[in-house]
Every structure is written in structure tokens, then in C-alpha cells.
Symmetry: C2
DNA sequence: AGTATATATAGTAATCATTCCTATTATTAT
DNA sequence: ATAATAATAGGAATGATTACTATATATACT
């Protein structure tokens, strides 16, 4: 007797992935994989770092989060809407801001015949805490 | 007899550093350290990768080049004047452009009381080669 | 509810970019 | 030419990320 199952891989529920999603959703601090890992261990002590990376990547693919790079290090952001970042060189904080880049988009399209998907802007400087 | 030399370390000439500087200056391709290394080996076969990294870092400090990050990978750019990048997701090319971000600078300063040092903007999309 | 099948995991090894270490070499002030 | 020390080559160490594999778990079908 032959049983045919679905050929294409479906995404299964996973307790680990849900935990990771919740952790990323719960903070505005743009956490690193390692921070998510240490947080996840509180509720799933045996979770492995590989699982965290695999699921962060998966969640990005499904549009549940976006990856941003702070220098060479990857950080994860639940906010998938277009926005920019202010990075304070004093405290290292990365703050979300929304600057109008619609002008930039159309400008680039006209001037350089470049079809824009995404504008990644990080502004480096000093935040108001350091005066 | 006691001889007193300069206390503070002065930068010495180095054939390797000059070669590295020339290589970075010679291209608009925003090369990686590894690319610079393989180029440098043509004229200095025994040059080591550590020397390349050390000098790229040094040249950044002296303002001879700037480091940009393409995702998590460091690339080096001889153009130290403020400018932005268009990254084509089809061919991976990184193109220099100058978009007016003066408005953004003053906007950020007013709205968020954030002292701006540098605006890092990369626009992801598709360049005119792919139509 | 029970079983079959495949996806997801934990744990660990491997990879890749980058930095660090150290004995030797090269630059430069004298 | 010499002394002092900055810079190098070569290799080891690090840190983030990915790959591998045997086991555990979710789920489609009975």
C-alpha cells in the first residue's frame, strides 16, 4: 500500500520558534542572536544557538522580522515597516526613527534608473543623553 | 651615554601600506580585504593577510579610506567624502551616488536632538543592467 | 488513539572573516 | 653605520555564523 504525503515542505509549529518570535517582538533593543539565545534559555534551557539562528533566518524569510547590520554584527528587528536608525556612538544605542525617504526613492529612480526595494539608512552621532 | 628618541610612535613608511593604499585608490569596486590581499600579492608575494587588515584599519584612521559594510562583510572605499550607495541585488554591484542628505541631518537634529556625524545610506534594488 | 513520515531540534564540528601573537625584518633618527 | 623600535610574515586564536547528524516532535492519515 502506498501513501502519498505532501511533496512540498510545510512549516511546522515549533515551540522554539514561537519563543524566539515573542522575544524579538518584546524588545526595541534590536537584539543580537546571542542575546535572543540567552533569553530563550530562560524558558527552554536546552535550546541551542543553531536553533536560534535557523529560526531568526526563517522568521526573516516569512516577513516576521528584519535583519539589520550594526557594523559587521547582525541584529534583529520586529519592525518590518520602512524605517531608519539613529546609532549613538557614545552608548551604542540604536533607535528607530522614520525619516521621509520617499523623495530619495523617486530621485534615485529618475537619476540612476534604479528600481528601489529598500532604503537602509543609519545615522551615526550622539544622542541627547550625552550633553 | 643615554640617547633619547621620540617617545610617541610615529608612523613609518612601509612599502606594503603604500601598495595597499594604491590598490584601494585604483578601483571603484569597494573591494574586500581578501580582494586587496590577492591584488597585493602580485607585487609583494610574501605579504600576509594580517598586514592587509592592519593597514586598511590604519588607513581608515588617517582618513585615507573609509570602511563600509555590505551586510556583514567589510568593504573599503577610497572616497571619504559623504556619499551613499546603490546596491544591486542582481549583480551585487555597489555604486557610489550623492543624494542630498542635508535635509535629513537638520531634520534629525531638530526632531530628535541628535548630533549627526555621519549618514550611512544604502539603497537596495535593481540597476539598469537588468531590464 | 496509533502509526508513518518528515520537519525541527540539540549538540557539536566546521567555516569564514578578522584579530592577536611573536620572532624577524626594515625604517629612520642620530 | 648603529641603535631603537615600528612593521612584517606566518601562524594561532577568536567570534559569529553555518553545516552536520542522530534523536525528538509535529502532523497527516488511518
Amino acid at each position: 500500500m502506498i501513501t502519498i504525503y505532501t511533496i512540498f515542505s510545510a512549516m511546522r509549529f515549533s515551540h522554539q520558534r514561537e519563543t524566539i518570535r515573542k522575544i524579538v517582538n518584546s524588545t526595541n533593543s534590536h537584539p543580537t542572536a546571542d542575546w535572543v539565545f540567552s533569553r530563550a534559555k530562560r524558558s527552554i534551557p536546552k535550546i541551542s544557538l543553531g536553533t536560534v539562528y535557523r529560526n531568526l533566518k526563517r522568521l526573516e524569510k516569512t516577513g516576521d522580522l528584519r535583519t539589520i547590520y550594526d557594523g559587521s554584527i547582525a541584529r534583529y528587528d520586529w519592525n518590518t515597516k520602512p524605517h531608519d536608525h539613529l546609532k549613538c556612538k557614545e552608548c551604542g544605542d540604536l533607535m528607530d526613527v522614520h525619516l521621509l525617504d520617499e523623495g530619495i526613492r523617486s530621485d534615485v529612480k529618475k537619476k540612476y534608473k534604479f528600481a528601489v526595494d529598500d532604503v537602509k539608512m543609519t545615522i551615526i552621532g550622539t544622542c541627547q543623553k550625552h550633553k
